[in-house]
């Protein structure tokens, strides 16, 4: 969480720039995020477009084809899920647009909804600028980004229940995946998880990606609803 901005335009290394579109219905928030991460020469992030509702978001994403879209969960016109649904074409292709959900929402159904809709990760709006830059580059590289809260939601959703899984491979988390998620929920950065579990950061990333895939493809019926209900005990 406290990792410095390591990716992006470093002194040595190849200069990398991630093209980003901001989708949020609050102009103030977009302005803030742009000010925080949009200084391309220091952060390596180039904000190429903004949108404030589903309609404009779909349009901007299709036109600019960014690397990463920072997507708010709550949007006029159907929310982040609708943007994902209508951007399926640009998402599907190899090297296509990737979505990172960015929300203040505390509700599991909102968050897991966008993740199941195809977003590659979810971070809260309390995230620091440096962490957000990191997350954007992680997403651009094809990894998944789990915030502690998302890890908690997923652990909850996949917790052992009486209902037998439809697909053993998808509807269950392995012990290792569970461990990784737990460490994320405890506030560990990937590097720290790697140290703790004596594995490489790459392995951590692959575990997280596997969890994300399971979350998106899982056959578990009413996963979202169920997870929400569980949190409302």
């Amino acid at each position: 969480m406290t990792e410095a901005v390591s990716t992006g335009a470093g002194a040595d290394g190849p200069v990398r720039v991630a093209r980003v579109v901001l989708v949020d219905d609050h102009r103030m928030f977009r302005t803030g995020v742009r000010a925080e991460i949009g200084r391309t020469e220091t952060t390596g992030i180039d904000v190429v477009g903004e949108a404030d509702d589903v309609e404009s978001a779909v349009k901007v994403v299709a036109e600019t084809r960014p690397d990463v879209v920072l997507l708010d969960v709550h949007l006029p016109g159907g929310g982040g899920v609708e943007v994902l649904r209508r951007s399926a074409a640009v998402m599907g292709e190899p090297g296509g647009v990737k979505f990172l959900a960015l929300s203040v929402s505390d509700a599991a159904e909102d968050v897991i909804g966008v993740i199941r809709g195809g977003a590659r990760g979810y971070v809260t709006k309390t995230i620091t600028g440096a962490d957000l830059v990191n997350a954007v580059f992680r997403i651009a590289d094809g990894d998944a980004v789990f915030s502690p809260r998302l890890a908690g939601f997923v652990l909850d959703a996949f917790a052992a229940t009486d209902t037998p899984p439809v697909d053993e491979d998808l509807d269950r988390l392995t012990q290792r995946e569970r461990e990784v998620l737990r460490l994320i929920a405890r506030g560990y950065a990937y590097k720290e998880i790697a140290k703790q579990l004596f594995i490489s950061v790459k392995t951590v990333e692959s575990h997280v990606s596997a969890v994300l895939r399971k979350l998106q493809l899982s056959n578990r019926h009413e996963l979202t609803r169920w997870a929400t209900a569980r949190r409302l005990i």
Binding site: P148, D156, A185, R186, K195, L232, I233
Partner: protein, 489 residues
């Protein structure tokens, strides 16, 4: 039991004359400024028209009924008049006895009397008089009114009053008069056998009366939420009987008209016409239905919006005002903002939890603790909770230890966010508290520092749990608290 009409006027509805069915008129002493005519839902023979009129005019019911019967013999005008009243005049609503909008009235001895004059307990509506005639009357009234016969116990209670029996006699007389009237009518009809349509028409009339009566009943029940569980079957039976009577009447009518051989085609034609009407009016009806639905939805939305606006006004706007006033005190501003954010989140995303007064589960308790630490130490605490369980003594001790760990993390964690993760897995409850501060080695803590040793480790041990304090891999400190829950719930 109650006076019909929304504006009950004791002076007019409760003449204090002798309580007899055939009593002389006792006009009300003071004329009311404004009265509306309603049909009486109680003590009615058919539609409550006569009774409503009687109350309205301040006349004895019997007189009105007699007038209707007499008018009937005048070429059936009475029936027409009655039907017209039934159709036009709404059934009495705003029943004072239940609505509590005014003095309570009870139907007693043929008059409406304020309830307090007869005692706390309202008298039963009808007096189930033992004896064949009484039962016959009950049967007749039951058939047409669809009201249950007064329980035995209730009738026993009133046995003492001589007035009631006299009043019973009066009602009986009225009924007998009705029966005699019907007999006479039948005689007339028999004589008029040259008009063969009379019987079908009579059947239709009775059927329509039954159905209308039932409609009144259901309306009445809906208004006052009377659960008609046992009554429902009776209602269906009555409606069915009414429909059957009407159908039989119509078919009989057709047969008598000489179209008996073509009844089938007539029915077909009727159905065709009905279908045509449906096709023509269907869209309008549907449209109206949808409009009604849309209107209802809009109303609900408006209500919700009003509620949200009220909440925001009470909480958020209030806090924003406070923040503006205290803008020079960043700590206080942060505290206010955080507290408000928490409350708003709870209200938005966990309305059930917000509604609950006392938190009695782990997650709720943790949320409270986190809020308290955030407020007191001005450091954000991020809580992630997986699973939940009810609180017990051991978990409560664990929460106290967790609180201490959070306080430590807030104090010495370098001001960065404190991360709290709690998980309930079967009987085991684990809590992790982590900060990103400089970190410390528990071994090097001097012996006189009792915070960690006693409040966290010692407390957990005393309650049969374990606590570990260790440096996090990349700086900072993590406290791990593990506890087995007490008894099974």
């Amino acid at each position: 039991m109650a006076a019909p009409g929304t504006e009950p006027e004791p002076s007019t509805t409760t003449p204090d004359g002798p309580p007899s069915g055939g009593a002389e008129p006792t006009p009300g002493p003071a004329a009311p400024p404004y009265r509306k005519l309603y049909r009486s839902p109680h003590s009615r023979m058919l539609g409550g028209v006569a009774h409503g009129l009687a109350v309205h005019l301040g006349l004895p019911v019997t007189w009105v009924r007699a007038a209707f019967v007499l008018l009937f013999f005048a070429n059936g005008i009475g029936v027409l008049l009655y039907a017209a009243f039934w159709f036009v005049v709404p059934i009495g609503i705003g029943e004072p006895a239940r609505g509590g909008l005014g003095p309570t009235y009870v139907w007693l001895n043929g008059q409406f009397v304020p309830a307090d004059t007869v005692g706390a307990r309202p008298q039963p509506l009808r007096k189930g008089q033992p004896g064949r005639l009484g039962r016959l009357r009950d049967l007749l009234q039951g058939t047409f009114q669809g009201e249950p016969v007064v329980p035995e116990q209730a009738s026993a209670e009133r046995g003492q009053s001589g007035a009631t029996s006299r009043q019973n006699l009066g009602q009986l007389a009225a009924l007998l008069m009705l029966v005699v009237g019907v007999m006479a009518l039948l005689n007339v009809l028999n004589i008029q056998s040259s008009q063969p349509y009379t019987w079908p028409l009579l059947a239709i009339g009775v059927g329509v009366a039954l159905v209308w009566r039932q409609a009144d009943d259901s309306r009445w029940q809906r208004w006052f939420g009377l659960e008609g569980g046992g009554k429902r079957r009776g209602a269906f039976a009555r409606v069915g009987a009414g429909v059957l009577l009407v159908t039989v009447g119509i078919i009989g009518f057709l047969i008598l008209q000489g179209t008996g051989s073509t009844v089938a085609s007539v029915i077909e034609a009727s159905l065709a016409v009905l279908a045509g009407v449906l096709v023509l009016t269907g869209p309008y009806a549907l449209r109206m239905w949808q409009d009604l639905g849309a209107e209802r939805t809009a109303r609900i939305r408006a209500q919700e919006r009003a509620e949200i606006a009220a909440h925001i006004h009470d909480s958020v706007l209030h806090t924003l005002t406070l923040i503006q006033r205290r803008s020079e005190d960043p700590k206080e501003v942060q505290r206010l903002a955080r507290a408000q954010e928490r409350e708003l989140r709870l209200w938005l995303y966990r309305p059930e939890a917000a509604a609950e007064a006392a938190p009695d589960t782990l997650a709720e308790r943790l949320r409270e603790v986190v809020a308290e630490v955030e407020d007191r130490h001005g450091v954000p605490v991020e809580l992630v909770c997986v699973g939940d369980c009810p609180m017990d003594e051991k978990v409560a001790a664990q929460m106290q230890a967790a609180r201490e760990a959070m306080v430590n993390a807030a104090k010495y964690g370098g001001g960065g966010p404190v991360q709290v993760y709690a998980e309930v897995e079967g009987r085991t409850v684990s809590v992790f508290v982590r900060d990103h501060g400089p970190g410390f080695d528990p071994e090097t803590v001097p012996g006189d520092r009792m915070g960690v040793r006693e409040s966290i480790i010692g407390r957990m041990k005393r309650h049969g749990g374990t606590a570990r304090v260790r440096p996090a891999p990349d700086g900072g400190t993590e406290v791990e608290l593990e506890m087995e829950r007490a008894a099974d719930d």
